[in-house]
Symmetry: C2
Subunit: 411 residues, 2 copies
Amino acid sequence: MALIVQKYGGTSVGTVERIEKVAERVMRWRAAGHDIVVVTSAMSGETNRLLGMAKGIDANATPRELDMLAATGEQVTIALLAIALQKRGQEARSYTGGQVRILTDDAHTKARIREIDTQRIRDDLRAGRVVVVAGFQGVDDDGNITTLGRGGSDTSGVALAAALKADECQIYTDVDGVYTTDPRVEPKARRLDKITFEEMLEMASLGSKVLQIRSVEFAGKYNVPLRVLSSFDEGAFEDHPGTLITYEENGMEEALISGIAFNRDEAQLTIKGVPDAPGVAYRILGPIADANIEVDMIVQNIGADGTTDMTFTVHRNDYSKAMDVLEGVAKDVGARQVAGLANIVKVSVVGVGMRSHAGIASTMFAALAREGINIHMISTSEIKISVVLDEKYLELAVRTLHEAFGLDKAA
Amino acid sequence: MALIVQKYGGTSVGTVERIEKVAERVMRWRAAGHDIVVVTSAMSGETNRLLGMAKGIDANATPRELDMLAATGEQVTIALLAIALQKRGQEARSYTGGQVRILTDDAHTKARIREIDTQRIRDDLRAGRVVVVAGFQGVDDDGNITTLGRGGSDTSGVALAAALKADECQIYTDVDGVYTTDPRVEPKARRLDKITFEEMLEMASLGSKVLQIRSVEFAGKYNVPLRVLSSFDEGAFEDHPGTLITYEENGMEEALISGIAFNRDEAQLTIKGVPDAPGVAYRILGPIADANIEVDMIVQNIGADGTTDMTFTVHRNDYSKAMDVLEGVAKDVGARQVAGLANIVKVSVVGVGMRSHAGIASTMFAALAREGINIHMISTSEIKISVVLDEKYLELAVRTLHEAFGLDKAA
C-alpha cells in the first residue's frame, strides 16, 4: 500500500465524461489498496474562456483579480470529480488551494509555493477518503487567492507529493510518457521507461512539453519520484507504466543518450567586432532583457584583434524587435556589424551518460556532416549538446541523430 | 456621504457588457461621495450550467461538493466587476464569502449566516476602495464553502449591510420596484415608493418574486433600509427611486392596502368528516410533510356532528401525489370523504393599514361578489386577507380588487 498523488491535466478532465473516466481510474488504484490524493487542472479551454472575459473588459486587468477569476476553473473540476467518486461509493472531499493552505508568496499569476499544511489531507486519508485538491492555486499570507502560472498544476501535484512524502507523483496527461524524441518527427521514437530529473529538465526546456519545468525542478529538489502516464489509456500503469523520472541509478549509466530534443521557431542574432572589455556582455544583453525579450543560447568567441563576436538565439516572434535593439547597442558599444538568421532551429542530444563518456560530440557532428547539415552554433552543458541549424534540416537532423545514438533500440 | 451596499442579481451581471454597466453605476455613486460595497450573484444561467454538470454525473451529488461547485459562479463575477472598476480608475478588491468571513452553519446548499467579520471591508473602504463581495456563499467553522440557497445573494447583501451598519441596502434587479400588483395582470398597477417589511414579506411569499423572503426578514430584524431598483434603468435612484422597504412610519398609515398579491398554480385538497379528536391535524398533515409536499394555506372548520373538515392548498405539481397520500390518511383516521380542486389560485390583499381599519374584508368580498366570483376558501392574518378562487377568475379578481382599494391612484 502506497500513498500516490495523481495529477490530471486539462484534457484529462475536459468533459464530464472524461472526469468520470478519471474517477474510474482512481477507483482501480483504491481497489489495489493505495491512498490517493488527486490534483486537477481546469477543464481544457476553461482558463482561456475566463481570462478572455477579463481581457474583454481590460487588457491590463490586475493580477489579483485575474487569479480570483482563474482559480474558479480548478474549483469546478475538483467538485465534479469528488461527486463522480462519491457516486462510485468512494468517500471523497475536494479542497481549494486555500483550504489545504497551499501557502504562496503574493506574486499573483506566478506565485511560488512556500509551504503546505497537510494535516487536513492526512486526516481525510486516514478516514479512507480520496482527497481532491485544486491545482494551480494557493493563498498568500493575507488569504488572497494566488495562482502559480500556466502549467502550475504540475507544480501543485509535486509540491503536495513532497509535503506528504508520497511514494510517487503520477502526472496523467495526453501522452503516454517521455519519448526519445518527438514521434511526429521520428516515427521510430521510443518511450523511455526511466529518465533522470536532470535529463528531463533538459528535454522539457528544449521543447518536449510534457511536464512543466518548475515541477521537475521541484520533484528533483525534494526527490519525489515522478511518473508521466496517459490518462487516455485505460491500461496506463498496469499495462503501460509510462516514464518514471527519478535520480540516476547505476543501471541507468548504460544509456549514453536519453533523447533528442529540439526547439522550432528560433532566430539567431550576431554582433561582430565588439571591443573586448569587461561588462560588454551586459551592455549587449541588458537592453535585450529590458525589451522583455527572452534569450535562449548565448555563445561568445574571442577574436584575434582584441574584439569579440557574440551570438544568441531568441524566439522568432522577437526577432525583428531584437534586431532593432541590437543595432542601437552596436552603435553604443562600437561594434563592427550586426547579422541575423530568422529561420533556425535548435537540436540537442541529452543524456546523463555523456558525463562519463567521451566521443558524444564527435559522433553527433560526424552524423550531421554525413548528411551535409551545416551547424551555425554549438553550445554544451554537462548532459547535453545543442546545435543550431537551418530550419529546413530539423527533421533530417533529428532522425539522423536518433539513429546515430541507437535510440530506436531498447536500452 | 453614506455607506451603501448594492446587490446585483444574475441578469444585472449576465454579460461582460452588463458588468461594465454595473461598474459605471458604481462610479456614479462614488462620484457622489458614497462608500460602496457591492454584492453580486453569478452571471445568469451560470449556476444552472454548473449544477447541470454535477447532475449529469450524479443526481444525488453531495451538498458539500455542490456548494464547492456553485460558489465559483459568484467568484467569476466579483473578479470581472473589480477589473471593470479598476479600468475606470477606481481602486477595488473582490472577496469570496470565505475571505470576508461570512461565517455560516454547515447546512450545505441552504446555510444560514451566523456572523460576518467586517474588519477587512472597513479597512478597504477607509482606503477609498470599492469592495466587491461574492453573494450566496460563506464558510462554515471548518472552512468548508457553503451556499445560502437560491436567491441567497439578497441575503448576503442585507447581512453585509446589517454587519456594516450601512445606511441603505440597494437591491438592483430586473424590475424597477415593488408594484401594487403584477402589471402583466393589471396594467394600472402602480410602483410603491414605500412598503413596510411586513407587507413586503406577505407580498413576496404570495408571489411577487422581487426579493428573497429571507433577505426581507433579515432586513426587518436588523432594521436595514432596503431599496429595490432596476439595474436596467440608467436613471435608477436619481430619477426613479425604486421602492424603499422600511419600518412603518406615521405617514404610511393612510394607505389601507399596499397591494394585491397572488399565487398561480395551486391546488386545493379537502378531507371531510374527520372524527374531531386531539392530534388529528397532525395525523393528516404529518404524512403530507413526510412526502416532501409543502402545504400553503390550511383551514379547518368544526362540523356539527363531532367531525371536522380540513382543507389545504399545495403546489399544483404536488396535487396527485398529495391526493394519493390523503386517501391513505382518510382510511387511517376514519374520514368520510376526500375531495380536491386542481385548478385554483390564491389572491390576497396586503396592507399594514388594515390592522386599524375595519371593513377591509367586507369591501373585498363585496367587490368579488359583484363580479360573480365564487370564493372557495378564506384565510386571514393581521395584515392580509387571502381567498382561493377558480383559476379562470385570477385576472378579473386582481383587477377588481386593485380598483376597489383605489391602488391605481397615488396615495
